[in-house]
Symmetry: C2
Subunit: 468 residues, 2 copies
């Protein structure tokens, strides 16, 4: 061991190892006991060195799990926001993008791969739904759910939202068949054919497809991967065009996990009031926050013009097909549209999820899921740092995916079919726009654990993307 304090030598050794990538981002360092043994030092010395590395941001302690190599962000450049397209356009989604949309909804490089055990949260959820089925009594199968959905579930959801600064009541909420269904009802309620809708770019493709089906025009607003929708650009667009609605994802927007800062939220609401906009808030990723989720835009909505849409699909299970909408001044019309287009939802499922929430199982599930997502994200970012090309990425603190910008000669759309032929589903950038932007970008998800087959698929991505 070299001169100086023994903890300093150990600190240098560890720091050098991280620098040389002996341990990768997200990887666990040797245990305290192992380091003591290996370096012939005391436990206190090891802990002192580790705490100093933690203070430098090189490692992070995880409760009961040890020390892990932390993400180093200084050397990653961020992708640029998109361009403002030059006026409202009608939407026409081609078949290739449709195919990509269907496959990409699973957020998985290997969508046929799903295996292993169900997470304990889902086992407990399924038990709760099973109990709810067994508790059905005479003739209940003959009646329809009330149009807004089962009150017990709406009450639990109101409580859930109240922890994020929005004191909703059960009457403010309507249960839907998922968030896409909520967005559909919202757009159908507040827009007419031909109306213009402002969207984030890059932004959620589901909204673009809805606009196409409802005959709405779309105007793309640049969105950064850090702070989301560019409010300056929106302000200019509103001055020039007659925009009816704005769809926005303030909490961990797909594709890149942007979070809208508070001042931007206030500006957006002011613009909404000035231009009589309907503001449709896609809140679906809020519960994937690694720390506490930001308050929704809806919490600041004193003007009753923010329609909040969300679902359990990202936080719990896509197979539930349960979402919700709070429709502000359009709420009655939304409930009516739901009634007329599909009468009702399944009560037993709603009752099952309401019990699952009431007994604290949802919170427990979200806690476990956050830890897993964070580890998955770190693994992904660590791998991206090794790609043999310029990679720009913004590291999200929630959501399920990162937005990766590659050198301009890369064409992710062209790489889609060859990748698919090898069983790998990539999500090319152009899916997130109607103006053929982002050919050099793609969304990569960390929703799923990086087990061996998925990690191999990730390792193979640069080859698939860069070979053209």
């Amino acid at each position: 061991m070299e001169s100086g304090y023994r903890y300093q030598a150990l600190e240098r050794w560890l720091s050098q190892g991280i620098c040389d990538r002996r341990w990768r981002v997200g990887e666990r360092l040797p245990s305290v006991r192992a380091l003591c043994h290996q370096h012939g030092v005391s436990k206190a010395t090891v802990q002192h060195a580790l705490r100093r590395l933690e203070a430098q941001g090189l490692v992070e302690a995880r409760h009961r799990s040890g020390y892990f190599v932390a993400l180093q962000l200084g050397d990653i450049e961020k992708p640029q926001p998109g361009d403002l397209i030059d006026g409202p356009r009608s939407v026409s989604v081609n078949d290739l993008l449709l195919d990509i949309m269907r496959r990409s909804a699973a957020f998985d490089l290997l969508p046929q791969h799903g295996c292993g055990d169900l997470p304990p949260g889902i086992v407990s959820l399924n038990r709760s739904i099973g109990r709810s089925l067994r508790r059905q009594r005479g003739e209940t199968q003959h009646y329809y759910d009330e149009p807004a959905g089962v009150p017990a579930l709406r009450e639990q959801l109101a409580l859930h939202h109240s922890r994020r600064g929005w004191s909703a009541s059960a009457d403010d909420l309507c249960i839907t068949s998922g968030c896409q269904h909520a967005l559909f009802l919202a757009l159908m309620a507040c827009c007419d054919r031909g109306d213009v809708v402002a969207v984030e770019s890059p932004g959620f493709y589901g909204v673009l497809q809805l606009a196409e089906q409802l005959g709405l025009q779309v105007i793309e607003m640049p969105a950064s991967m850090e702070s989301g929708l560019d409010i300056d650009a929106l302000e200019k667009a509103l001055a020039r065009w007659d925009v009816r609605a704005c769809v926005v994802s303030p909490a961990f927007a797909t594709p890149g996990g942007a979070v809208m800062p508070e001042p931007a939220k206030h500006r957006l609401l002011r613009l909404g009031r000035q231009h009589d906009l309907a503001i449709i808030e896609d809140d679906i990723y809020a519960d994937t926050a690694f720390e506490s989720p930001p308050d929704p835009l809806k919490a600041l909505d004193t003007d009753n013009r923010v329609i909040l849409c969300s679902s359990f699909s990202k936080s719990l299970s896509r197979d539930l097909r349960l979402g919700w909408v709070s429709g502000a001044r359009w709420h009655d019309r939304i409930v009516h549209l739901k009634l007329v287009t599909q009468l009702a939802g399944s009560r037993y499922v709603q009752q099952g999820v309401a019990s699952f929430m009431a007994d604290g199982s949802l919170s427990a599930h979200l806690r476990r899921q956050r830890q897993a997502l964070r580890a998955n994200r770190d693994h992904l970012i660590g791998k991206l740092q090794d790609w043999p090309c310029d990679v720009r990425v913004c590291v999200p603190r929630g959501g399920l995916s990162v937005w990766v910008a590659l050198p301009h000669h890369v064409d992710t759309l062209k790489a889609y079919r060859p990748a698919l032929a090898e069983g790998v589903v990539i999500t090319p950038g152009p899916l997130f726009s109607i103006s053929d932007q982002y050919r050099n970008c793609l969304r990569i998800s960390y929703a799923h654990p990086w087990d061996a087959p998925r990690a191999r698929a990730l390792e193979g991505l640069p080859r698939l993307l860069l070979r053209n």
Copy 2:
């Protein structure tokens, strides 16, 4: 005992009793043993008398249950079909009709009354869904169902339809969230705002509400309670107006259970071809047939223009929220609309129902349900015959309701709120039209058993309806 054969005396005595309404329609006669004892005759004599009454159509034998008073139809007049309204109209449904629609969907005079045990078919269905939930494996909760729905369920449905002369394949079917959702997707796929849709009058209010929301114009075609849509009237309307689609219920149409005769089906298909119509077939009541269900119109569709819509809501459970659509030449667009508006359905439910069908449980359930519906219908018709006014009704052989025409001074719409104040939900005639016809008519359902509270509600109906 009088002169003549002893069986003749017994026959006269029973026949007189039925005439005097000592036993009501649908009521069980005293058992063979009781009649032997009471009249001091042999079992053979009693059976001979009963068989003679059966031959006259006065009683009917039910397997293992004895002899019941049969329905006498000779003295009931049928309601008149509606009037052809004099051109296409846009639809505007008022709040009262909306309220009625929500409450009437349960087909129950006492919608809060449901109690007692679940039917064995539903218990077994719930078990099957519970098993399907327990069989979920790792990460399946992360994936979406395929857009058209679970293949195993579509295969079972194709098999189910093949028994009715339509050799569908799983690829011809798309799973929906119920029949209303199927009708919505069908109308959205084949019509544009402003298009004209021909409907039956009286006919299903759900279609009228969809037309309102989709901005479609409606033209009402008279429909009889026996044979459904008046094809002559349709032919005249098609010659005069540009009609895009026709929604029709050939099997046990609501409100009155009409069945379209085969020749009318062929004429309708010919008209469809001549005028390039989309024909939307609402097949939801087919499985409630007391005998074997008629073949669907779709079975005769050589021109790929009949969109069949159906669901399990009337035959199995409304809380399943499972329907299906076979979209003919519009099928791809329908699947796409389903994908864009709500992504997917729940796989575990579809898998559960598929097993339930595969193990024969659906067929067994339908057999039991038919018997129950038939008994419920007979009780209702028997009661209607006693009402203190002219009652016209057509006796259906399937479906869940009868259409009752009362004297012209009766106003069923006016009776709705006072009835509701007494806890009774009536379904007034004007709900089934957009032209304020049928004020003197109402739909009465026999979907639910006539237990004491419901039977009391039925007894009280004439007072509620006739007091004005």
